[in-house]
């Protein structure tokens, strides 16, 4: 599938350090191997459904690395969709927890065996619960951003979603609420455009050439980048975040990405060889620039593959939730989010 890529204007082309490139590569591989493990678990009956982000690592990993991580409005809020695994690993999430959610164990820290794979939730890192309905996160993002504007720090709100979902009204709500004159909000609005919504291609569903074209009318700075290149992504995200953090205004970043295992397990979750593979491309670059050898790279992949295979076996033995657990947490007993906000002195 051909990718429409604009030259990332306003983004410096300053070289990234080899250490950073290696760190990104490491996380990208880890994220990919994790998705492949999750897919396998589902196929083997160790989970009911898979959805995730293989093919988006060159964007999701740099995004996670650039997050100002912590709890409360001084830190960044993340309103992710179900393709954010790379971002979570870059934040420091334990991949074994993702296996637990796939196996819906009681030990799943994200939902206690209640929700599908890739539905993360980490309050201590401001990762709000991922929910399945497309685009609702874009209606909530202005709320956390308002709190941050008020808090006066550098914290920003980051919201991500796919291309097809931008047809929902909440995407428009996000553009409108974040750009009201005199009330602009510090939101980094991200769309990862894989040019599909399940089986429906981009063409024929969109009047706009690029989704990011929709920002202009609202005076929102907007940019479309090649999200398959981690260096481009890193620089574009960093510069967009700098703008949002400092100006306290929205930025709309569209990243063209691949969907490497199709939509989800419902569509088979098989490798799609026609799509660009950001890891393969990055490996060629790293070898070419003599930053990593092929041997070192395949060693890394083998290491993660083995680790996660072992972990998946251990997870299989962990307890399932009990029937009566359904009644837990219907209501909260205390105001946990309020405490966090006060702890960080932000409200």
């Amino acid at each position: 599938m051909a990718q429409v890529v604009s030259v990332p204007r306003r983004v410096s082309d300053e070289a990234l350090s080899p250490e950073l490139l290696v760190q990104m590569y490491d996380l990208m591989v880890k994220a990919r191997v994790l998705e492949e493990r999750l897919i396998r678990m589902q196929k083997q009956g160790d989970g009911y459904f898979w959805i995730g982000g293989p093919g988006e690592e060159a964007f999701s990993v740099p995004l996670g690395l650039l997050v100002h991580k912590g709890q409360g409005p001084e830190f960044d809020y993340l309103h992710l969709h179900y393709r954010g695994g790379g971002t979570m690993l870059a934040l420091g999430a334990d991949p074994v927890d993702a296996l637990r959610q796939m196996k819906n164990t009681a030990t799943d820290p994200y939902s206690g065996g209640r929700n599908f794979a890739s539905h993360y939730s980490v309050r201590k890192w401001n990762v709000v619960p991922v929910s399945s309905p497309i685009e609702v996160q874009y209606a909530m993002a202005p709320g956390t951003a308002m709190a941050q504007k008020r808090a006066g720090g550098k914290g920003i709100t980051i919201v991500t979603g796919g291309d097809a979902g931008t047809a929902e009204g909440e995407f428009a709500s996000c553009l409108i609420w974040s750009s009201r004159k005199g009330h602009e909000l510090p939101v980094l609005i991200v769309v990862t455009n894989n040019q599909y919504g399940i089986s429906t291609p981009y063409d024929g569903q969109h009047g706009e050439k690029r989704v990011s074209d929709r920002g202009a009318a609202f005076g929102i700075r907007s940019l479309t980048i090649d999200g398959n290149d981690p260096e481009t992504s890193y620089r574009a995200i960093r510069s967009a975040m700098d703008y949002v953090r400092t100006e306290r205004k929205p930025f709309f970043l569209e990243a063209m990405v691949s969907r490497l295992y199709g939509h989800s397990s419902s569509s088979g979750a098989n490798f799609v060889s026609e799509e660009a593979d950001c890891i393969a491309q990055f490996e060629a670059k790293l070898e070419d620039r003599k930053i990593l050898t092929r041997a070192r790279m395949s060693e890394l992949r083998t290491k993660y593959t083995e680790e996660l295979l072992e972990a998946s076996k251990r997870v299989r033995e962990e307890p399932q939730p009990e029937p009566e657990d359904v009644w837990k947490h219907v209501f909260a007993e205390e105001n946990m989010v309020g405490k966090a906000a006060r702890k960080d002195g932000a409200s």
Binding site: G72, P73, Y77, D108, P109, Y110, S111, G112, R114, N115, H119, S121, V122, R123, V128, P129, S131, P133, V136, Y138, A139, M140, A141, P142, G143, T144, A145, M146, A147, Q148, R150, T157, G169, E170, S173, I176, W177, R180, K328, H329, V330, F331, A332, E333, E334, N335, M336, V337, G338, K339, A340, A341, R342, A346, S347
Partner: protein, 354 residues
Amino acid sequence: MATFVQAVRMALHVGEERLGVTDIFGEDIGAPLGGVFTQTQGLRTAWNSPLDERGIVGSAIGLALAGQKPVAEIQFCDYAFNTIDLLKLAGAMCWSSNGDWNCPMVLMTPVGAGIHGSIYHSHSFDAQATRLPGWKIVMPSTPRDAYGLLLSAIMDPNPVMFLAPKALLRQKAQSPEEDVPGVPSDDRELSKMIDAPLGDRSKWRPRWPNTPDLFVPLGEARVVREGCDATVVTYGRHVHVCAKACAELEAEKIDVELIDLRTLHPYDWTAIVKSVKKTGRVLFVNEDTEITNFGEHLVRRTVDELFYELHAPPKVIAGKHLPGVGLADNLEKASVPQQDEIRDALRNLARHEP
């Protein structure tokens, strides 16, 4: 005596000054109007949102997740039916994250008929609201309860919906017990203090009376009048309609117990059980449409748990299963419960021979 809407305003003032409310927002909520019912006049944290109910609910969730305390308003509950997915998400936030997050927001919205509001200013929302697990739902019938329940709603760590019966908004407390404590006894005095003047309001500042931290607990019904011949359980404006029906029956020596549920979820089952065990006859009244109605839930639970205590079949009087409430007086009256049919139903219940 304070009106219902003044009570709401004073509660919101206490909320923003003493209980941590950070945002009171919705359409036309901010200055100069202060709400289409004047409910938010003079409040420090009130602001006008875009005309976008989905954005309002979404932003309230976001604010709540970021540790703020938002009180959001949908201008009329008739315009909340496109936000039910988001309301469900707010109610699911704690449960679906297995207790990781809570979502402490308050959503206010005016409900019900009785003011010739025609099709789109007459909807009820209690049936919908009680279908939202994870939410607490209140619907006061007096200024005092409006004040005290709103304060409790603000302090609760969960999403709480505050349904305000439209027809009661301008109604004054009918007795000192229904009034907000601490307001001046002279109504004009109170009005001068906290009602925005007509004309230019740019210089106006309210003077707030010193009202206490009165928390009416969520989940506690109020026995409006005691009786032994039958029980009527209701809430909102129908508390007053039922009270009048009860007064009519008193003349016939029929003594009806009237329960104002006040909180619809979690509701005060204990109070209902106690009364039904005493009277053996119960009528549930509300004005939402009658198929898949909250009163029908209460009947179900009554026959489930109290079948052999009943001396007569339990009844529901609710709104008719119609696409809307019509504008003409005859149409409105034929669509939502009226005093005479409530009176007749109670009489039948009380006189029913098993």
